[in-house]
């Protein structure tokens, strides 16, 4: 990296490239293949950190730091924030709904990669200049002198773009209040006249669960949706304790029975546990 033109990098960099490059590709693949958005975001963050290392290795010290601070630090966290907002556990089903989409995507991706590789190979770069001379006065100073002279207009315009984007984000997420906010008196009157004078029932059943996503059970054993937060209800993230708990109990009994080598009391109806439960419930209800 000392001369003006070099043909190869140091062995250390080569080693770093092959190891970290492999990890980066794996990270990218995980990004697109993970079922949960949170996992995708984390994989992407990892890939970005590896890219930051590559920037540093390529003499782009400023960009390497910015990549870590801005991209991985700020932007990816923004992503995670939105993922949390939208629903962290909402795992995607990976079955394709559009006919032939996956095949076409694979074909296009494969062909595109081949073409890009062919294009790069076609360029047949043998030697390279290296950044030793350009970074003589320091990488940040070099960038600064370019940004504030040659690219100053682009820089100004990007500033305007950022402002616009900020305003745009505010406008898009801002929800206009279409009606007057209720006063405390109105709210209290509404509550007294409404169905629920006392506080809404708490989630959780029989002290087995106190998680907010588990609905409390009514005396007849049916879960009451009232006990669960509205947001979770809308996302459909309510876990049902009645079936879950009964299944857990059944599994426990099964294991105990196996261990004690006793015949299973439920084995006869084993295949249709759920149906049996429901039948019992309806019998109770009819009584």
């Amino acid at each position: 990296m000392t001369g003006l033109a070099a043909y190869t990098t140091s062995t250390g960099e080569a080693f770093q490239f092959w190891v970290l490059g492999t990890v980066a590709v794996i990270g990218a693949l995980c990004t697109i293949l993970m079922r949960k958005a949170v996992h995708s975001a984390l994989c992407l963050a990892g890939t970005m950190i590896i890219l930051a290392v590559f920037y540093l290795a390529n003499g782009a010290y400023f960009l390497g730091i910015v990549q870590i601070v801005v991209y991985t630090g700020a932007i990816m966290m923004l992503f995670l924030f939105v993922v949390m907002l939208v629903g962290v556990t909402a795992a995607d089903s990976l079955t394709e709904t559009i006919k032939g989409q996956r095949w076409l995507a694979a074909l296009c991706g494969f062909g595109f990669a081949i073409l890009l590789f062919a294009g790069i190979g076609n360029a047949s770069v043998k030697d390279f200049n290296g950044l030793a001379k350009a970074n003589e006065g320091g990488n940040v100073e070099g960038l600064a002198s370019l940004i504030f002279t040659k690219y100053v207009f682009a820089f100004e315009i990007t500033g305007a773009l950022l402002i616009t984007a900020t305003v745009g984000a505010m406008v898009l997420t801002h929800r206009e209040r279409t009606e007057r906010a209720k006063t405390q008196r109105e709210r209290s009157e509404e509550r007294v006249r409404g169905k629920h004078l006392p506080p809404l029932p708490a989630p959780g059943v029989y002290a087995r669960h106190n998680a907010v996503d588990i609905a409390g059970l009514l005396p007849d054993g049916t879960p009451s949706e009232l006990t669960v937060n509205k947001t979770l209800r809308e996302r459909g993230q309510i876990r049902d304790v009645s079936t879950e708990a009964l299944n857990d109990l059944r599994a426990l009994e099964q294991r105990a029975a196996d261990r004690l080598e006793r015949p299973d009391p439920h084995r006869k109806g084993g295949g249709r546990n759920g149906d049996g439960d429901r039948a019992e419930e309806t019998e109770e209800a009819s009584k």
Partner: protein, 631 residues
Amino acid sequence: MENLIALLVAAPLLGAAVLLCGGRRLDRVGHWLGTLLSAASFVIGLALFTDMLGKGAEERSLHQHLFSWIPVEGFKADVAFQLDQLSMTFVLLISGVGTLIHLYSIGYMEHDERRRRFFGYLNLFLAAMLLLVLADNYLLLYVGWEGVGLASYLLIGFWQHKPSAATAAKKAFLVNRVGDMGLSIAIMLMFTTFGTFAFGPVLEATGETSEGKLTAIGLMLLLAACGKSAQVPLQSWLGDAMEGPTPVSALIHAATMVTAGVYLIVRSGAIFNGAPDAQLAVTVVGAVTLLFGAIVGCAKDDIKKALAGSTMSQIGYMILAAGLGPIGYVFAIMHLVTHGFFKAGLFLGAGSVMHGMNDEVDMRKYGGLRKYMPVTFVTFGLGYLAIIGFPGLSGFFSKDKIIEAAFAKGGTEGWILGSVALLGAAITAYYMTRVMLLTFFGEKRWQPDAQGELPHPHESPKSMTIPMILLAVGSVFAGGFFSIGDRFMHWLEPVTHHDHGDSPLSAATVTGATMVVLVIGVSLAWVQYGRRPVPVVAPRGSLLTRAARRDLLQDDFNHVVLVRGGEHLTRSLVYVDHTLVDGVVNGTAASVGGLSGRLRKLQNGYARSYAVSMFGGAAVLIVATLLMRAV
């Protein structure tokens, strides 16, 4: 002085605008306003006329350029007026007779609640007619031509509550459309041939143009003239046009508008001079119509329709004269002017009779009216003497000259045309005497009207009799005044370039022959209608009479040939349209629709599918780039 020309048109146009837009508050003064503006136009015309008389014969043509109408490169049309001797003659006739008829209408339309509107239409007609004769190019003339057509339509259908009037108006409009199509084609031909429509350049350039083109233009102009002047084969509308109020029949369908065709042919004389075939066609049309109209006039019992047949026949004389070329132009115009006087007078007289007879139009129910309506009788009688060509009266001079000119055409043609004209004169004498005898002489054959009341004939008010008297004076003296010293001929000489022709018969012989046929015609009529009592209900009559009562089967002819033919043509075209054209169109549409139905599946609405095509497109772009670099 030439700045006054536009005022000639502007005055009645203003009247029309004010009367038609002014609303009911003008009801009380509207008729006077209309008459005043018409008279203003006449006074301006007189001023221009006296000014013109003070100049030398060659300097009399005035020109006024108002503004450029369509100033496009290679297509220039101006709104410009040309006032020469020919136009002057028409201006005086139109505004003069027009004013008299306005005056007459004040009395005639007194009880009509839409009188203001009537005067608005009359003024509109005057403006359009003056525009027609004052235009200095064919395009502007066309505007006036359409304008009089519109006014004619509105006035024929003025009593629109009568279905017969509404139908007659529609018929006149439609038949005129055929002629107008001829005029528009003629104008287009002129533009492609000469590159302009202005009279001056077009008429000067006729010398260097091939005869074929001139013949085409001439025939198209003849078609236009046939439509407007009710000549065979486009004559069928004139008889029905009598459904309009009588002053309208007098002004538009006798004195002025129907003579526009004659004006057009005389104005385009240079074109016809260069196209002998077209000229021959004009004379044939004139001769046929002359007899056609006269025969129809003999059989009609409706006084206005009889006069309408007479009008058709007299215009046939004019067209015949105009077709003779420079020999006849002057006489065509002269007969036009004298005819304007006596036919307007006759119509006004007929209107006066109807006014006194509870709007009865059947002459067989008149009789013996001369004692009850003396002024009408005298004026009508003078008009009658003028039209049959009684020596010394207008018709004698003008019609005689046309017959002479027809003989002067020379050759077999001249003999045939001259004989036809003579025969026409005899029939004219016959049918006019018949009208006269049936109306004013003989027994009273009055019948009770719908309310069961016998009519009480009485003389019409002054506003009606004064125009009749003035027109009668014109009918008596105009011909003599024009002919003494060939005044009219010299007056029009710069425009029409008179040619005496080579008559095989002396003027005296022709006059003598005319007198003989006149006497024969009158005596025949007297024998038939004067000596014997006239039946109130028309006898069945001979085959020819029955045909003539039906306008010589013109409507039946039109129905069989045009309507039935048109229906069959339309039906076959509809069939072709449905099977062939629609087949192609629908087939194309169906195939496009089917293709779209297949292609539509690509547009499935999923952003990811579109992303695939974008990605594929990017790949194709890379291929293209690589290929370009490889090449």
